[in-house]
Symmetry: C2
Subunit: 131 residues, 2 copies
């Protein structure tokens, strides 16, 4: 068993192309030898966003603090603390924070994600391929 | 994509032997065709507890509200909102709430758990087999 506090885990910037004002804490992952899944906490600062992207595995998301928007392709959904999102494999999605306070959420992925690609989605007008 | 609110999902009593004052919401699971993992929210009322049990798969736990105790075998760990626990496969564990307010946590499991057994651990003195 491993018991820890979120705040004791180092938060690092998300350096993926298309990411602005995003930070991540790996709460449970490979270092803990978790057999099947990884738990991360993301923080999106006011005005920030994740890349618009897709990948061949799911996200299971639980909003822990603040509020933000998740885009399902071009469709925005406003979400807030206590809301839950299943992002299905290969769905184009993006998190944005239009509020004045940090937007935090847990994002769970299967371990197989470590070996699978992430694809950035072209912006609207650049290409239709990722819509 | 499926977006929902925790509060919109029905909470049902946990009817496992050895459980008192426990309730569960299945936030993401089989009905959503989540490919790899299930997300549940448990609530343990003041004075309540889960069974003392073990199973051949892990739990990934995030405390969302209140505080409680998780037993690692016979060793108690006090946990509160924002704390994270990895319960490794086959570890005997139990959640208890000694506080005056509800204790809530997310508990993620791999889908393979649906087909695997849960074993109740005999109380101290009854047997040494599950320690």
């Amino acid at each position: 068993m491993k018991v820890t506090s979120t705040r004791s885990i180092q938060q690092t910037p998300v350096d993926m192309p298309g990411s602005t004002g995003c930070h991540v804490r790996w709460l449970i992952g490979k270092p803990e030898d978790a057999p099947n899944l990884a738990m991360r906490e993301f923080q999106v600062d006011p005005g920030g966003h994740t890349p618009r992207h897709h990948h061949p595995y799911e996200h299971e998301v639980y909003v822990t603090e603040g509020q933000g928007v998740i885009y399902e392709g071009d469709t925005p959904h406003t979400i807030k603390a206590g809301d839950v999102v299943l992002v299905r494999p290969n769905e184009v999605h993006q998190f944005q924070n239009h509020s004045e306070t940090p937007f935090k959420f847990l994002c769970l992925i299967p371990n197989e994600a470590y070996d699978l690609p992430i694809t950035m989605a072209p912006e609207c007008g650049d290409s239709q391929s990722a819509k």
